[in-house]
């Protein structure tokens, strides 16, 4: 096939995929039927692989489909299905507009040692220690973080602007959504990667995909034996070099009439630009034997560099605008374990399965999920953790467990979730308003969906909270509602392994309806 249509099809297809991904991550996924989202997600290589390792059923074997696709067609995945790859193409286009130099690529040497080292390190570290290199480098998760950290706030700004304009006209189609953001240090990794990927793609096309991305490198290895490839028609080629200049992967050697398939992402730009009809995409011809083996590819450099960023934040952000209470609470909460989201099962399992793509963070209607720094330790960097300072886990919701592409959060029915204990409530009487101020409060008990926090008589007319951890599900609504600062009088300490909560018992009300008016 040498039709210039190929490139147009690629652009159209990838644009649709990118738009779908953007909609999913800025939480407009209701616009797309769930089954299409599921297909899209199941074809993401790393998430699908992790899901399969966790639950080996045929439905979660999307990564096998990607491998087969690569065997047949080369790295089409990188141009058609990978949101980070497609996003980079967009950046490259912008780069080309900015400077002519940025759209003239030309043949470059592959960074063989570097790319195979990164792939090797990722595999070794994931197998031996934990998946944190994968979390850092998985292209889908990198893209997810870009969207959640930068894309969604921009979308919300636009939404809020529209809502503001519409409200002026008394129309309430758009609701104002408060942009909460995350703790400052959690931005480190997404910002660094955004600079890295951004600069590379603006100036050098697919350099990131062909040097750093472990999925790109792996698929590149496999595509060396792929059946469909970009081919030269030596009889037609005039060696004008246009193809090499337009090649985003800088992998065409037009003088030798060779394409480095391990770097070629099947973007079909070369076919489009060739004026001699010398480039085509088709079945590989076996006339010429491929005997040259790159010796460098087997060289592994063990170990990796992982920058440890920052220390756990000590100070806690006080809620803005809240007036200082009469007295400050004095007893610090003794938190022994972070609270992992519903469906995580155990923190250990969760940490070994989550790539921190932050899709659940984007999907959470209550904004209670936040990317972790070191709450889970190094292994859990960028993974979602429940932050009950800003919000709580709303009782009638299982959104996060439905969207997880890796099964790090397993699907839960609403009934199951409402009996899953993420953590246990702890009451610190010495911080409680009722004790320190001698005034009524009860914000915690009011918010408790199971009445694991209830009120008992205290001095005079006052009532004070008491807890029953057996029926607590660890939703954190009490902690969120508790108005004491700087320390809460009630908080949820996470369960390292989620437990089953007792269902709340409830007796028929003793009171009866009035026969007549009681006044």
């Amino acid at each position: 096939m040498r039709s210039p249509l190929l490139r147009k099809i690629r652009i159209l297809f990838s644009a649709i995929i990118l738009i779908c991904f953007i909609l999913v991550f800025i939480d407009y996924k209701d616009l797309i039927p769930t089954k299409y989202i599921n297909i899209l997600m199941s074809l993401q290589f790393v998430p699908s692989m992790l899901k399969y390792i966790d639950t080996p059923v045929i439905l979660s074997a999307g990564f096998v489909a990607v491998l087969i696709l690569t065997l047949l067609t080369g790295r089409t995945y990188c141009s058609f299905l990978c949101p980070l790859g497609i996003g980079q193409d967009l950046f490259s286009r912008i780069g080309g507009r900015i400077r002519k130099k940025f759209r003239r690529y030309g043949l470059k040497k592959p960074h063989t040692i570097l790319r195979y080292s990164i792939l090797g390190a990722t595999v070794v570290v994931s197998l031996v220690w934990g998946i944190y290199l994968l979390t850092l480098l998985d292209p889908y998760s990198v893209f997810g973080r870009f969207m959640t950290f930068f894309g969604k706030p921009v979308a919300l700004l636009i939404n809020n602007f529209l809502s503001w304009v519409f409200h002026k006209f008394d129309i309430y189609t758009f609701d104002h959504i408060t942009i909460t953001g995350f703790r400052l240090l959690t931005y480190t990794i997404p910002v660094l990667f955004f600079i890295l990927v951004g600069v590379m793609s603006l100036t050098r096309g697919r350099l990131y995909c062909n040097t750093i991305c472990p999925v790109g490198t792996l698929l590149g290895l496999i595509s060396k034996i792929s059946i469909f490839r970009i081919k030269f028609d030596e009889s037609k080629c005039t060696r004008c070099g246009r193809c090499a200049i337009r090649c985003k992967s800088s992998c065409i050697d037009f003088l030798q009439q060779k394409v480095d398939v391990s770097r070629c992402v099947d973007c079909f730009n070369c076919i489009d630009v060739c004026q001699d009809d010398a480039m085509s995409y088709g079945l590989v011809s076996f006339k010429k034997k491929e005997t040259e083996t790159d010796t460098g590819k087997r060289k592994f450099i063990a170990g990796s560099l992982l920058m440890l960023m920052g220390l756990q934040q000590g100070a806690r952000a006080q809620e803005k605008g809240s007036p200082v209470p009469l007295k400050q609470s004095t007893v610090k909460e003794n938190r022994t374990c972070p609270v992992a989201p519903p469906g995580a099962g155990s923190i250990e399992d969760f940490n070994s399965n989550c790539t921190g793509c932050s899709l659940c963070i984007a999907a959470c209607p209550n904004d209670v999920l936040k990317p972790a720094l070191l709450q889970y330790g190094i292994a859990g960097i960028m993974q979602p953790v429940m932050d009950y300072h800003k919000s709580f886990c709303t009782f009638n919701c299982v959104k996060c467990t439905e969207v997880c592409p890796t099964y790090a959060l397993k699907p839960l029915t609403l009934e199951a979730k409402q009996l899953t204990q993420l953590g246990k409530v702890q009451f610190i009487k010495d911080n409680c308003i009722v004790k320190t101020e001698k005034t009524a409060c009860g914000a915690c008990s009011e918010a408790c969906p199971t009445k694991a926090v209830y009120m008992v008589p205290y001095e005079g007319n006052l009532l004070i909270p008491e807890t029953n951890a057996d029926i607590c599900i660890g939703c954190g609504h009490c902690e969120y509602a508790c108005p004491t600062v700087p320390y809460k009088a009630i908080f949820v300490d996470g369960n390292p392994v989620h437990q089953a909560a007792q269902p709340p018992e409830n007796e028929e009300a003793e009171m009866e309806a009035h026969e007549d008016f009681p006044f």
Partner: protein
């Protein structure tokens, strides 16, 4: 620029209010000197015959139809072309039969009466405790209100709230309240009667926690006093319609299951929310003195908690 404009409008409105309230204050003083709160409230909007109407035994809609008729119809409170704010309790992500939120059928009927009385627009909102989208939907109120022709407005963002001062407030001197309170002409309060875990009862006055942004401040600074203090604020409801159809008598204000609910099939309608809350204590079977915000509000001169001295119309259906 827009903010500035807004502020100017606000200030003008406040001035307007001051002028009006000065007059009202004089009238109130006169009425008081002539004897009793009842006349004060009866005199305010028009010549309503009763201080309070209590209805029992019908559907929420039927009870309201009868009750409002006894007060001279909705036209007594709403003039043609006015904008109306209807404030139910939509605080919790619970289904209607749990009685955690105002009965949606009642909300719907009240809106219909407002529109029939010539209201230009009716707005409904609440600053919910649970996730607001779920509360609006699962309470059944969003759909009921929209179907009845009201505009359902969000209350989940600080952007919608404007700072006000409460002169005379003991603990609560400032609050941020929803802009709709300023943008509408008539305010109608439709709370639901419930048990409450710390104030022991929630009804009319406590429903105002859903028009302010920072509830935490109330909880930190003597909840009962703050509830009474807020009742001082100039934008008072023209009418309180207390839903006592499904009454959550324990585990309030959120409830655990249907076992918490007693079907009382009642409704109390009054322009005096202190009186309304006082009557509600009898319905719920709690000691009025223990619901501290009621005596506080009575002391601040915000209404009459001595229901024996009121002219109450009681209707059994």
């Amino acid at each position: 620029m827009q903010i500035l404009l807004n502020k100017t409008v606000r200030i003008m409105k406040r001035r307007d209010f001051l002028r009006k309230s000065a007059g009202a204050g004089l009238a109130a003083g006169a009425a008081l000197s002539l004897g009793g709160y009842s006349k004060l409230w009866a005199a305010a909007p028009s010549a309503a015959k009763y201080d309070m109407v209590a209805v029992m035994g019908g559907s929420p809609e039927a009870m309201f139809d009868l009750g409002i008729q006894e007060l001279g119809g909705m036209g007594t409170f709403i003039k043609k072309g006015q904008k109306v704010l209807v404030k139910p309790n939509i605080g919790w992500d619970r289904p209607p039969e749990m009685g955690a939120n105002t009965n949606p059928a009642l909300v719907s009927r009240v809106i219909e009466h407002c529109l029939r009385a010539g209201a230009k627009e009716v707005y409904v909102f609440d600053h919910t405790c649970d996730n607001w989208v779920n509360c609006y939907r699962n309470s059944g109120i969003e759909k009921a209100a929209k179907d009845a022709g009201a505009k359902v407005v969000p209350g989940n963002s600080e952007n919608y709230y404007q700072e006000i001062e409460i002169p005379g407030g003991v603990k609560l001197k400032k609050a941020k309240v929803h802009e709709l309170l300023f943008d509408t002409d008539v305010f109608i309060n439709i709370p639901v009667l419930k048990d409450h875990n710390s104030t022991r009862m929630t009804a009319c006055m406590k429903n105002m926690m859903g028009v302010v942004w920072d509830r935490g401040f109330w909880h930190r600074n003597d909840l009962n006093q703050c509830i009474a203090d807020y009742a001082l604020f100039e934008k008072k409801p023209a009418l309180n319609i207390l839903d006592c159809y499904n009454v959550m008598v324990k585990h309030g204000p959120m409830g655990v299951s249907k076992e918490d609910v007693v079907q009382m099939k009642s409704q109390i309608i009054s322009t005096d929310w202190v009186a309304c809350d006082a009557a509600a204590t009898k319905m719920l079977g709690v000691d009025l003195e223990k619901i501290e915000y009621i005596p506080y509000a009575h002391k601040l001169g915000l209404g009459n908690m001595n229901i024996d001295s009121l002219n109450i119309r009681r209707i059994k259906m």
